[in-house]
C-alpha cells in the first residue's frame, strides 16, 4: 500500500523523500552527509584534475610528461608500452597470438558462467578444448612459428596460471575433501595434514620451494620448465583451499541424503558421484568463484620468482625503461584497472549467482 502511494506521487517529491530518508534523517545523519561530501569532493576533485584534466593522453614524448611537473598523469606511458605490458617479450610480429589466447581464456570464463553450459561434458569440452587451443596459439607449431616458453609473458600467463591452477586443483581438492571426511583414519590424517600444512604457509614460500629447491628432489637429469613448476605449485596450493570449499558443501548436505543413498544400496563411490558431489558442488559454486578470484589475484606473486606474468610485464615495462621510470604510478594504475575489471566482474557474478541459486532452491 505504502509503495502504491509513493509511486503515484510526483518524482520531485519522491526524490525529496528519498533524500530525507537516506541522507538527512537526523542531525547526526546530516552531519555525516556533509562530512562525507566534503571529503569526496576534495579527494575526487584532486584525483580528477590529476588523472583527467591535467593528464597527457595518447602518444606523447617523455619531455611532454616531464613538463607537467607531476601536476597531471602521464598516460602516454601506457600508450607507448601497452603491448609490452600485456604480452611481455613475446615476439612483436606474433603478438596477435597471445591476444587471441587471452580472448579464448575470457570466452572460457564467460561461457562457463552461463548455466546452459553447466553439464559435465560441455564444461570438459570447453575447458580442455579451450586450453589446448590456447596452448597451440602460445607455443606454435602446426603452421605457426614455434615460440619457446621463455618468451611467453604478460596477461596470457596470468590467465593461464589462474585457469589451469583451478582446473587441475579441482579434482585434487575434491579427493582431499572426501579424504578429510572419510572414515578411514590414515586417509583422513593424510588429507588433514596436507590441507593444514598447505594452508598454514604463504604461497610465496611454496613458490620458492618450487622454483628453488624442488629440482633437488628429482632424479638427476629430469627437470621441469620453470613456468610449469610455478604452475604446479599454484595447483597444489589451490587444491588445499578448494578442498575446504568442497568440504563446506559436503557438511551442508543433510544426513538424509546419505541414508537415502544407503537405502538404495549404492556403494561409496556411487553415493559420492551420483548423490553427494553434484549437490555439494552446486551449493558451493559461489564459494568456488570466490576461490577462483583469490587464485587469480594470487598469481601475481610469481613476480617474486621472476616469472613473466602480467604484473611482472607491467613492472618491467615501466621500471626498466629509464625514460619512463618516473611514471610507474600510471603503469601500476593501469595494471590495477585490469585486475580490478576481472575480479570485480567475477565477484559480482558470484553474488548474483548466490541469489539466483538460493532462489532456485526455494522454488
Amino acid at each position: 500500500m505504502n509503495s502504491h502511494a509513493t509511486a503515484r506521487r510526483p518524482a520531485s517529491e519522491r526524490s525529496r523523500d528519498w533524500l530525507r530518508q537516506n541522507l538527512f534523517s537526523s542531525p547526526a545523519n546530516t552531519l555525516t552527509t556533509l562530512l562525507v561530501l566534503t571529503l569526496l569532493a576534495w579527494l575526487a576533485g584532486r584525483f580528477f584534475s590529476w588523472a583527467v584534466l591535467n593528464a597527457v593522453w595518447g602518444q606523447a614524448s617523455v619531455a611532454t610528461c616531464n613538463a607537467l611537473m607531476g601536476q597531471g598523469a602521464c598516460w602516454a606511458v601506457v600508450a607507448d608500452k601497452w603491448q609490452q605490458m600485456l604480452f611481455g617479450i613475446y615476439p612483436q610480429a606474433e603478438q596477435w597470438r597471445p591476444a587471441l589466447a587471452v580472448l579464448v581464456f575470457c570466452s572460457i570464463l564467460v561461457l562457463s558462467a552461463m548455466r546452459a553450459c553447466w553439464r559435465v561434458r560441455r564444461l570438459l569440452v570447453l575447458w580442455v578444448g579451450g586450453s589446448l587451443l590456447c596452448a597451440w596459439l602460445m607455443a606454435g607449431g602446426l603452421g605457426l612459428t614455434p615460440v619457446p616458453t621463455a618468451l611467453w609473458g604478460g596477461l596470457p600467463i596470468t590467465l593461464m596460471l589462474a585457469v589451469f591452477g583451478t582446473l587441475f586443483a579441482f579434482p585434487l581438492g575434491i579427493l582431499l575433501a572426501l579424504g578429510r571426511r572419510s572414515s578411514l583414519p590414515i586417509l583422513r590424517a593424510a588429507s588433514i595434514s596436507y590441507i593444514e600444512l598447505v594452508r598454514g604457509v604463504p604461497l610465496i614460500t611454496v613458490l620458492f620451494m618450487a622454483s628453488i629447491m624442488f629440482a633437488l628432489f628429482l632424479p638427476e637429469g629430469v627437470s621441469f620448465d620453470k613456468l610449469l613448476r610455478a604452475q604446479v605449485a599454484i595447483i597444489l596450493f589451490n587444491a588445499a583451499y578448494l578442498a575446504e570449499v568442497v568440504r563446506a558443501g559436503l557438511q551442508a548436505l543433510p544426513r538424509g541424503q546419505y541414508e537415502a543413498a544407503d537405502a538404495l544400496g549404492l556403494g561409496y563411490w556411487q553415493t559420492q558421484l551420483l548423490v553427494v558431489l553434484p549437490q555439494a558442488l552446486k551449493i558451493t559454486i559461489p564459494a568456488q568463484v570466490n576461490s577462483f578470484i583469490d587464485n587469480f589475484k594470487d598469481t601475481s606473486l610469481v613476480i617474486i620468482v621472476s616469472i613473466f606474468d602480467f604484473l611482472y610485464a607491467v613492472r618491467q615495462a615501466v621500471i626498466s625503461d629509464l625514460d619512463w621510470r618516473h611514471y610507474f604510478v600510471e603503469g601500476y594504475l593501469f595494471a590495477m584497472a585490469v585486475y580490478w575489471l576481472f575480479c570485480y566482474t567475477m565477484s559480482h557474478y558470484s553474488q548474483w549467482l548466490e541469489q539466483h541459486l538460493s532462489r532456485d532452491q526455494r522454488n
Binding site: 617523455v62 609490452q84 617479450i89 613475446y90 615476439p91 612483436q92 596452448a135 597451440w136 607455443a139 606454435g140 607449431g141 602446426l142 603452421g143 614455434p146 619457446p148 616458453t149 621463455a150 618468451l151 620458492f208 622454483s211 628453488i212 629447491m213 624442488f214 629440482a215 633437488l216 628429482l218 638427476e220 637429469g221 629430469v222 627437470s223 621441469f224 620448465d225 620453470k226 610449469l228 604452475q231 604446479v232 617474486i304 620468482v305 621472476s306 613492472r315 618491467q316 621500471i319 626498466s320 629509464l322 625514460d323 621510470r325 610507474f328
Partner: protein, 341 residues
Amino acid sequence: MPITKNIARSLAALTLGVTAGTALAGPTLDAINKRGTLVCGVHTGLTGFSAPDRNGKYAGIDVDYCKALAAAILGSPDKVKYVPLTAQQRFTALQSGEIDLLSRNTTWNSKRDTTMGSVFPGVWFFDGQAFVVNSKKNPKVRKLADLNKASVCVETGTTTERNLADYARANKLTFKPVVFEGQEATEKAFQSGRCDAYTTDSSGIAAMLVNLPSRADYTVLPEIISKEPLGPMLRRNDQEFFAIMRWMIFALQQAEESGVTQANVLQMKAESKDPTIQRLTGASGEVGKGLGLDADWAVRAIQAVGNYGESYDRNIKPLGLTRGMNALWNKGGLMYPMPLD
C-alpha cells in the same frame, strides 16, 4: 616432419612439462649433444651482460659466452636455451641440473667453489664493488668516508651485502643498508631518493648510468671496496665439460692476443704461419680432440661472437667502461690466456 615434431614437443612440454633430460648420469657434454641445445642460466636483465631486447633476444657478454660454447659444441650459436634466473635461483638451478652452466656475472669465491656442488672454470670479467651518489642532492660527498651514516641501497642475494658490512667494520664507518629484491627495484629506490648511495659492481653502476637521461647528476666514488672476479659456473665432478668451459675462455682471449677476429678467422686458419694461431684454429695440433670436440671448435666460436675484445667492445664498451683489469696481460690487464699446445 619438423612441424609435427614441433607441436608434439610443445604439447609434451605443456602437458607433461618435462624438458628433455638435462645432465644424465654421464657428464654434461653427453646430455648437451643428445638434446641438441645448450641450456644456459643467465641474468634476468643486466645491460652489457645479459638482457633481452624487445623481441626477447638475449644479448651481452655473458650471453656471448653461451653462444660461443654452443657454436663449439653443437655447431651453431643459436642452439642455446636461455633460462633467466634471479640471484636466489641461480645456484640450485645449477645444482639440480636445470641448466648446463651458469653464465650470470657470478663472483668466484671459495664457498661457491667448494661447498655448493659447483666449480668455476675461470674468470670472464674482473669487477669490483663501487658506490654511486646523486651529487645534486649530496654535493659534498667525494669519497666513501663522506658517506658515514648514510643509507645505502643494496640488492639482496649478492656478495654486495656482505662486502658492505665488511668494509664498514674494517673502516669504522656505519651504513644503513636498505635491501631490495632485484636490481631494477634497487635502482628505482636509489633514484627516487630512498637511499643516499647505491652500491653494486662497477659494471652494474655503469650499466645504470648509461641508460639514465640525467646521468650528469651522478658521481661514482673512487673507492672499489672488493674484488669481484665474475665467471661462469658448472657442476662439480665433470672434468670434460670443465675443460671445455675453461679453454673456451682462454681460446677467445688468445684469439684477441693473436689478432684473430670474427672477420678474419677463416683467412687466418688458411694462411697464418703463426703456430699459436694454427693450434687455435685447428690448422695444426690436437687441442679440439683433447677437449672431446672437433678441430674447428674455436673457429666456430670466434665466428659466432668474435674474440674476447670484440665481445667486450660490443657489450661493455657502450656502458662507458674502459678495459682496465679486463685488458690482456700484455696491455696492462689481468687476462692471461694459458698457452695452447
